[in-house]
Symmetry: C2
């Protein structure tokens, strides 16, 4: 393994596996099992099974599609990506190859044993992924519109309840409303828009204090409920991402203050987004606002509380991608798509997170989809 | 990179990433972003963010959970898996470490730069995954029962149509029935069972000749429709897998013969499954039966036709895992869970695939869930 990272020369990626998203970005082609993708000069090559050959040739991006068989690999030998990579690179007369840092070490070892020089390409593999094209923004808007529709359905479901004697929210048919039922409704709306969402968060009360808790069990009157919806379009592969925090009934003063602080911080952060401003500045602005409002961050009883995550992240073919809107975030550029999602989390009060996804424009930023922020239902 | 593969010594895997399934198998813990897992002697360690710490400690398998912070990593340096791996292994006084062949080369490079010796562990990383425990079989049965319920719903939906003047199947409300509508119904049934299924196949006519085509557009009377359903339980992580081929109306003689040949072959293969019989024998038995029935396999007009895939594969925490029931399949063992899914595909006639998932028993095999094979609806 050569130590120096470089960016020039033939590149090998693993589609349908470690580099799936980059390969989809580069050539629009994906498959259910790992396959090889190689760029050399202006040429793009894939090695796929006979079953995928027609689809690869038809994908319309001038891909040259090979099969293990046509590369002279028969039987067991043709089944490994390492053998296929060696055969393809020998066929293309490539002696030095770039891979991503995610490339499986087993494949690299195969290449090195065959005498090839392997170098890791600097991140990101495709710089172009950081700034979205008009077509990509259209796809992101569609995913975010589906997200907003699901959010409205969830909010409507919670609004349309009354509290039972034990405080549990009851639906009009008299059954308790649970995180699971709200999540099912969200996923149904998303499914109808041909999106998938596997980790939707519907977390009430102290469950919402852990930002990674999906939520479970009955929902209660007077508790903050975090709704975080992030689906991927099965058609385009682009993600949406939106969070709202709601409460059915009458909030306690500390809940009201918490929500209003996050709402104000999110609005201020959205107004600061523009080209040339760094993710770091935006993040630090929120940290300061929270401190000024009296909200500290740190471990309480061994549990992280306060503002315990970054302000946001890029969204595209991955739900979390560059650029970061956090302590290490660089300068924003026109066409970047990011989330702005400040949050505050305290045991006994609850969690509040409010998130929109925006595209950076010449003069500021624009929401990918609208969804109101009324929170007392 | 040391050339020799070995299986003894401390092991490093990437949970939530390249080795996610193996880590879930080993310790029951998963997370949305990549994290380190290390086994050393009887100890098991993970490095997770503060947000995941409580969940890791609570997972009940005696995991020792570390954070980058507690390993002395601050700021940007703690964000990379490579730095975290070096810090943890130094903390554990490990100098030689095994990784899987899937380990990202970027992480390996980091370890080697820090002076560690890295070796690739022989596949499979956990031999135990090949034979399922009683608890695993219970989870697989639950996923397969959900699959069967979805299959019955799909079949009912197709049965409950009549053909319009152009042959398009019409639902009772007079609307055309499409692959998309059937797929939505399938996914809805699965969602209610807390399963996700992203690539369900509902492919009619010549679409069904390509085994990887999901299917689209209206469904027609008199065409073979391949229904292939393979959901993953969101609760257990175990998959189901079942395929049926149906037809609404009256089949043509060549369709009838094709289906009956596959049905007979699948039944014969199921009866041959038992410990000590190899996947290769079962696969070759089907190849012979198809040839005897007059069905050849090969490229016709550049399109693979005939019996163009393996007979089956293992099912567990991955939808495709060892053992193989194909040209290289080894001897089966009690407790292995495999699919038996012969198929024949010819342009102009259609595709037929019939698949069940079974567990190998002392005396043969047992279906994980039952679902009838009536195909003329």
């Amino acid at each position: 393994m050569n130590e120096k990272r470089t960016s020039k020369g033939p590149l090998l990626l693993i589609g349908g596996g470690a580099d799936d998203v980059d390969v989809r970005y580069a050539c629009g082609f994906g498959a259910p099992d790992p396959f090889l993708y190689v760029e050399k000069g202006g040429e793009r090559h894939v090695v796929v099974s006979m079953l995928e050959l027609g689809r690869a040739q038809a994908c319309g991006k001038g891909l040259q599609a090979h099969t293990p068989d046509r590369l002279g690999l028969k039987g067991t030998k043709g089944r490994g990506l390492g053998d296929q990579a060696v055969a393809l690179l020998q066929h293309l007369k490539v002696k030095r190859i770039l891979v991503s840092g995610r490339c499986p070490v087993g494949v690299v070892r195969h290449l090195e044993k065959a005498g090839l020089t392997v170098q890791i390409k600097k991140d990101p593999v495709f710089q172009g992924r950081l700034v979205k094209s008009a077509e990509e923004i259209k796809a992101l808007r569609a995913s975010q519109r589906a997200t907003a529709a699901a959010m409205k359905a969830a909010r409507g479901m919670i609004a349309d309840t009354r509290a039972g004697s034990d405080g549990v929210l009851l639906t009009p048919d008299g059954n308790p409303l649970s995180s699971e039922r709200v999540r099912q409704r969200i996923e149904q709306v998303l499914m109808e828009a041909d999106c998938r969402a596997d980790e939707t968060i519907v977390a009430g009360g102290d469950q919402g204090v852990d930002p990674h808790e999906r939520g479970f069990g009955p929902l209660y009157e007077g508790e903050l409920i975090v709704l975080d919806i992030f689906p991927c379009s099965k058609v385009s592969g682009y993600w949406g991402d939106m969070t709202r925090t709601v409460l059915k009934g009458t909030p306690r003063p500390e809940q009201r203050h918490l929500v209003q602080t996050v709402l104000t911080a999110q609005r201020a952060a959205l107004s600061r987004v523009k080209p040339g401003v760094s993710g770091k500045e935006i993040h630090e602005g929120i940290c300061e606002q929270f401190l000024e409002a009296g909200y500290e961050t740190g471990l309480v009883d061994g549990i992280p509380q306060g503002f315990i995550h970054s302000t946001g992240h890029g969204v595209g073919l991955e739900i979390h991608e560059a650029p970061s809107v956090g302590p290490n975030g660089g300068e924003l550029e026109v066409g970047q798509v990011i989330t702005i999602e400040p949050g505050l989390y305290y045991r006994g009060v609850g969690g509040v997170r409010i998130e929109d996804t925006v595209v950076v424009t010449e003069s500021g930023c624009s929401l990918l989809a609208r969804c109101g922020k009324e929170w007392i239902l």
